[in-house]
């Protein structure tokens, strides 16, 4: 029996034809954000790093890190790299480009993390979760979608006695049905703003006094403040102290669809307790939390569009750089 789907626009076509992963905006974040952070991790570790990614078809991030000596490439490929891809064709294309990878996984990452053996193999120094989906998935439970996966990652990584860097990417669109989760996130941010110092900084930077106000006026900015707070809470629950790096955002203008923003975050997580938590460790835990909560407000939020508009040579340089990486 043949079930034919008529020749139609397919979501995959756009980014495949346009090759969005080659665009300078995305590459800016790779170079200015991911590469710098991964370099720091490599230096601290004193050796090559293990890297997990939800990369695109041409695996530009992997090639970039390898080109700068952060990832090892042998005659046989990338033994310290793992990736996950849901689409069969894209999965195959990635394998075709990289030849061999330490841990290739086919499937939806949110389902992969639910497998019993996930914590056994998920042990990485840098984890890059480019979800490119909305922060929430229209469910009342904010942990049903990508956040469930993030939590599973934190739990798995907590079994290592070492820190790691985490890169997150989301589509900053607000979907119908997300409201319950957004409200929870809003509450989390408002809780963060109960501290006067943090509130002052928030008002100065966001130009608004309440989280609720930001949700309605600038949802992208709201996410830039709220997501780090959410991540911090999850990380601290798993005995990590959190350092919040620069956040990035840029606009995308797809054909035949309304424009939307992409938001990207960088976190550095270090293990707080080598032994089970003790009462006398609590003040340190509180201090870590307060520091991270403050950073969530004060970390740089870089408008990539603006950066590239102001520096056209940088844009050209990034375009050339991507091309060279893919040669």
């Amino acid at each position: 029996m043949v079930q034919l789907v008529p020749y139609e626009e397919h979501a995959r076509e756009e980014w495949q034809l346009v090759r969005l992963w080659r665009k300078p905006k995305k590459h800016y974040v790779r170079v200015m954000g991911w590469l710098r952070t991964a370099r720091g991790r490599r230096k601290r570790k004193g050796g090559s790093i293990r890297y997990f990614t939800l990369c695109g078809q041409e695996a530009v991030d992997i090639r970039l890190l390898e080109r700068y000596g952060i990832l090892v490439k042998t005659a046989r490929g990338y033994p310290d790299v793992g990736f996950c891809e849901e689409d069969d064709g894209v999965y195959g294309a990635i394998i075709g480009n990289l030849k061999s990878v330490g841990k290739p996984v086919l499937g939806k990452f949110e389902d992969i993390v639910k497998r019993g053996d996930f914590a056994d193999w998920f042990q990485y120094d840098v984890v890059n979760l480019d979800f490119s989906c909305r922060v929430f998935r229209g469910s009342e439970d904010p942990f049903s979608g990508p956040w469930g996966a993030i939590r599973a990652v934190l739990e798995a990584q907590a079994q290592r006695d070492a820190g790691f860097d985490l890169f997150l990417t989301f589509n900053a669109s607000r979907g119908t049905g997300d409201e319950a989760s957004i409200n929870q996130l809003k509450s989390l941010l408002e809780e963060n703003l109960r501290d006067d110092r943090r509130k002052r900084e928030f008002e100065r930077r966001a130009g608004i006094t309440t989280a609720a106000g930001l949700v309605d006026t600038n949802f992208t900015q709201f996410l830039l403040y709220a997501v780090p707070k959410l991540l911090t809470s999850l990380a601290i629950d798993n005995e990590f102290s959190v350092g919040i790096g620069d956040s990035f955002y840029y606009k995308r203008r797809p054909r035949n669809r309304p424009p939307y923003y992409i938001v990207k975050f960088i976190f550095t997580l270090e293990r707080r307790h080598k032994k089970p938590r003790r009462v006398k460790d609590l003040p340190q835990a509180v201090a870590d939390y307060n520091r991270a909560a403050y950073q969530a407000i004060t970390c740089r939020k870089i408008d990539v569009n603006q950066e590239l508009r102001a520096r056209p040579k940088l844009r050209q340089g990034l375009e050339r750089h991507v091309k060279r990486l893919l040669e």
């Binding site: 079930q3 495949q16 042998t74 046989r76 195959g92 990878v101 086919l106």
Partner: protein, 519 residues
């Protein structure tokens, strides 16, 4: 009227359609391929035929969850794909041309090769974009329902052996590729690949070297059995139409350059889990085997004639070395049809009727069939129908070359070489023993002695001339063959002859025992 009468009497023949039970087709898809390598070979053949310059296979080592094959070949056209899937057994490949890109001989005869994937997993997807077209399509294929008893009564052409969904998408016109993915390989397939009979050894696959290092390591394994994954890599590299290693198949032998060049010209790379596969044939397989023909020898064979109305043409070589060839996977004869190995090296030497004993462990041969023999291929393309005239002719030619009892042939030559080599070794050992004896006699007697061996018979085994210092050793039944015993006997006789030159019996006796003690 007459016809009607005959019909009523049952004397007119009727024509019925032949309905092959679709279970035959189910067998193809569920398990006639004997090994993972044999199943993967079909995918390799498809890519080769599609003009791919590179086929990358990822097995998901070491978990073997997902198998992926990606090639840059011509892709599959939508209409062709639906035709092949509708009418299993038909093929577009040979109908168009017998020779493909890079002048590669087209391998595939029937388009069901793709169903070899079903042995890996009942559900798989194909994403492809044909050359010169601005579309691609993704097909998800499912044959899981079609197995066992359900298949026994379905008529071919009317029933289904599975289902597939197709979705088209837009693609750049300059893109051409095929990507095949199966998620979660069958347990049986995985079990074979994960099999590790010698768990204490670190798997070769974990090493970071290239395929040349892999092939060398396997040689150094000795008789250790390869694990499932190593076997798959080795067998696939053996069977696939990939080039030889630079030094292969036989170091220093230029008699196979034409074949090596031909394979290089096909420009086909097969990369499995990052390993760029080459034919893993590097002979001789021991570093101490350096001398031709003492240590090894290559025998050529060829045939070109009409057999049973069709041309049969093949060329090949048979290599023999005096030590066992390692790994054992290389022992035997491999037949290649259109550059693809049919099965693996056959230790039985195509059912050679005589026991060859240890000699068989030193034999490795390849036969490339350029014309003919294809009709003898079984449907799995990994074995032959042994009653086919072409197969029988090839077998006969091979047996003639190997030699049957009381006939000249390779095995007789191997025995002759072995005897000559042993003879040489014996002579060498004796030469060394004589030199040692000469030196000892010079020290004892105080003058030089020179020992020579003669092939002539003499009444005495040893003749010593004390005046000239010359000692001649003749052919004599008293002298053993084995060098050590022979040397001891010669010492005894030399001592006797030298002692005889003394004047008195007492002196003779004391000289004799003295020389014996000191020699």
């Amino acid at each position: 009227m007459r016809q009607q009468e005959l019909r009523e009497q049952g004397l007119v023949s009727k024509t019925f359609p032949i309905n092959a039970a679709a279970k035959i087709i189910a067998d193809i898809s569920t398990g006639i391929y004997r090994s993972p390598a044999a199943a993967l070979k079909e995918l390799v053949s498809n890519s080769f035929d599609a003009g791919a310059t590179e086929l990358t296979i990822s097995t998901g080592y070491p978990d073997f969850e997902t198998l992926t094959c990606i090639d840059d070949g011509d892709g599959i056209k939508y209409d062709d794909f639906t035709d092949v899937m509708q009418y299993i057994g038909g093929s577009i490949k040979r109908e168009v041309s017998d020779v493909g890109r890079f002048r590669r001989p087209i391998i595939g005869k029937i388009g069901i090769g793709i169903l070899a994937l079903s042995q890996v997993k009942e559900q798989f997807s194909i994403v492809t974009s044909p050359r010169g077209e601005s579309y691609g399509f993704e097909a998800k294929i499912n044959v899981s329902e079609f197995k066992g008893k359900m298949a026994t009564r379905v008529h071919l052409g009317k029933g289904e052996i599975g289902q597939y969904n197709i979705r088209k998408f837009r693609e750049g016109k300059n893109k051409h590729y095929t990507i095949i993915t199966t998620a979660k390989m069958r347990d049986g397939f995985r079990t074979i690949l994960r099999d590790r009979p010698q768990k204490k050894f670190k798997p070769i696959a974990q090493s970071k070297g290239d395929f040349y290092e892999f092939a060398l390591k396997l040689q150094n394994y000795g008789n250790r059995p390869l694990d499932g994954y190593e076997n798959m890599l080795f067998d696939l590299a053996t069977m696939a139409p990939v080039p030889y290693l630079e030094e292969g198949p036989i170091k220093g032998w230029r008699g196979w350059e034409f074949m090596k060049r031909r394979l290089e010209k096909y420009q086909f790379r097969l990369i499995v889990d990052g390993l760029d596969l080459r034919k893993p044939i590097l002979l001789p397989t021991s570093l101490d085997l350096t001398s031709v023909p003492d240590d090894y020898k290559v025998y050529r064979l060829s045939f070109n004639d009409i057999v049973d109305g069709e041309r049969l043409k093949f060329t090949g070589y048979i290599f023999h070395q005096r030590k066992q060839i390692l790994p054992p996977n290389l022992q035997g004869i491999l037949v290649r049809v259109r550059n693809v190995g049919i099965g693996v090296f056959d230790k039985s030497l195509l059912n050679y009727p005589i026991r060859v004993g240890p000699m068989g462990g030193g034999i490795c041969g390849e036969i490339y069939v350029h014309d003919g023999l294809e009709r003898a291929l079984n449907i799995d393309r990994n074995s032959f129908r042994e009653t086919d005239p072409h197969y029988l002719e090839m077998q006969k030619k091979l047996f003639d070359e190997l030699g049957l009892p009381r006939q000249e042939g390779i095995f007789r030559d191997i025995r002759n070489r072995s005897e000559k080599r042993l003879e040489k070794l014996k002579r060498k050992e004796m030469r060394r023993a004589y030199e040692r004896l000469q030196q000892k006699l010079q020290r004892l007697i105080g003058r030089p002695f020179y020992i020579t061996e003669s092939r002539k018979r003499h009444s005495q085994p040893v003749v010593v001339s004390p005046r000239t210092g010359r000692i001649r050793v003749f052919k004599h039944p008293l002298l053993p063959d084995r060098p050590k015993e022979r040397t001891d006997m010669i010492k005894l006789l030399v001592a006797f002859e030298l002692a005889r030159s003394q004047a008195t019996a007492v002196d003779q006796r004391s000289t004799f025992y003295d020389l014996l003690a000191r020699m």
